[in-house]
Symmetry: C2
Subunit: 254 residues, 2 copies
């Protein structure tokens, strides 16, 4: 499904402003970006591995996953993306993908032409820096995921994912870090954490039994943030929120 673009770059701009300072003119330029509106069902692949693309995907609603595919068809999710994320902004400088993007829920996205994004980056050096910083943030999350998958046990991995998503949802204005909507199936979590769905199930049960959280339908409620963060060895440094003074963080209660 495709239609003309309702202008809704505000969440994306807000995300950039978490880490970058942009002038009014630069902010206007971001808000003026145009894209093609799409609505996709859950389990739809939006970008396939190996494709060369000329657009980037801005999420308006729902959530997507970036994945790498194995020969046997098995998938490893390498990143989760929520509304406000331009989930493959880096494809502007690397349009031939090794990865794919899939809709993990029903989602609405805007496809923004690379040409527009490149034009902005070339015209406004500070926008180029902000885009570069966004890619660096993405890389920082990837590095943290390597550490989680490589060195932590299953329970800590799941705990860390929930801490990460809590922070990111709160930063995106979609709930608080201890209470947010996250309608991931246990299989989707497994694909991301390098585990099997069965084992994710047992680890979530363990966390519930410890009383640190509940997950009913798609609502995550973290009852004991400190304990969950302790289990996960969660440190928010990797979210790269130090780049801008806290006064510019919108709606964040530390």
């Amino acid at each position: 499904m495709t239609s003309a673009a309702p202008p809704d770059m505000s969440r994306f701009l807000k995300r950039l402003l978490l880490r970058s300072v942009l002038s009014d003119i630069e902010q206007e330029a971001i808000l003026d970006l145009q894209g093609r509106f799409h609505r996709v069902h859950a389990h739809t692949d939006i970008v396939l591995p190996g494709q060369t693309i000329d657009f980037a995907c801005l999420i308006l609603e729902g959530w997507l996953g970036r994945f790498d595919q194995m020969r046997d068809g098995g998938r490893q999710t390498t990143a989760f993306h929520i509304p406000g994320d331009m989930c493959d902004l880096h494809s502007v400088v690397a349009p031939t993908t090794g990865w794919g993007i899939t809709a993990l829920s029903t989602a609405t996205i805007l496809r923004i032409p690379h040409a527009s994004l490149r034009a902005l980056a070339l015209a406004y050096p500070q926008i180029a820096m902000a885009f570069w910083r966004d890619t660096a943030t993405d890389a920082s999350l990837l590095a943290k995921w390597i550490a989680n998958v490589g060195r932590k046990d299953a329970r800590a991995r799941v705990a860390h994912l929930l801490c990460e998503m809590g922070w990111r949802m709160e930063l995106a204005g979609l709930g608080t870090r201890t209470s947010f909507q996250f309608d991931a199936t246990q299989e989707q979590i497994a694909d991301a954490m390098g585990l099997t769905p069965v084992h994710v199930n047992r680890m979530l049960q363990a966390l519930r039994a410890e009383g640190v959280l509940t997950m009913r339908s798609s609502a995550v409620d973290i009852h004991d943030w400190d304990q969950l963060a302790d289990i996960a060895e969660f440190e928010p440094t990797f979210l790269l929120l130090n780049e801008v003074p806290p006064t510019q963080w919108a709606g964040i209660t530390p």
Copy 2:
């Protein structure tokens, strides 16, 4: 150990030119970068997790690892870096690190001030794009590592690492993909692959027993590239070499 900077940006420029097109003026600007020369011993930490830095590390000789540290002191290496890599170029836009950098061998590096790099990016939009692209390449390798650690068994992980290093060494002009110097200890490989040194040892033995490679002292010789690539499910797409027409690839025989 520190001294005045002998200008040796040529490897770094060559690396950028693998994926980006830069004019003569832009290339000159890169070559004119100045840095502070350091010689470090193996096992020296160059950047510690949590530090805020105002320089980036260009490797002239030897090799470094980027790592994440667990509470118990255990380390997960998230990237290996070889001569020509500016291993934390992304720190220009994210100077407060969640990671650290350590010398995996005796190495010589140049510390390039963020200010110089930022000035270049702001003055030359195409250099900004090239730096952004370099960070995207870094992120692409990180994503591939997640997939390896999350979904492949130990033998395939080790095989993939050797394929990756072979390609990168060849691209950097430091040998061929089937024959290169790689003086990693089995413990360093284990830290990177999410394994124990004991198990890395057994996997290397298995690969040697299959006749696909030999590793004596620091020399890697891959006798059967196709089989090793098959074991590893290695596809070079993730190295992002499609950005520039092959005529610009220096000294590569496909």
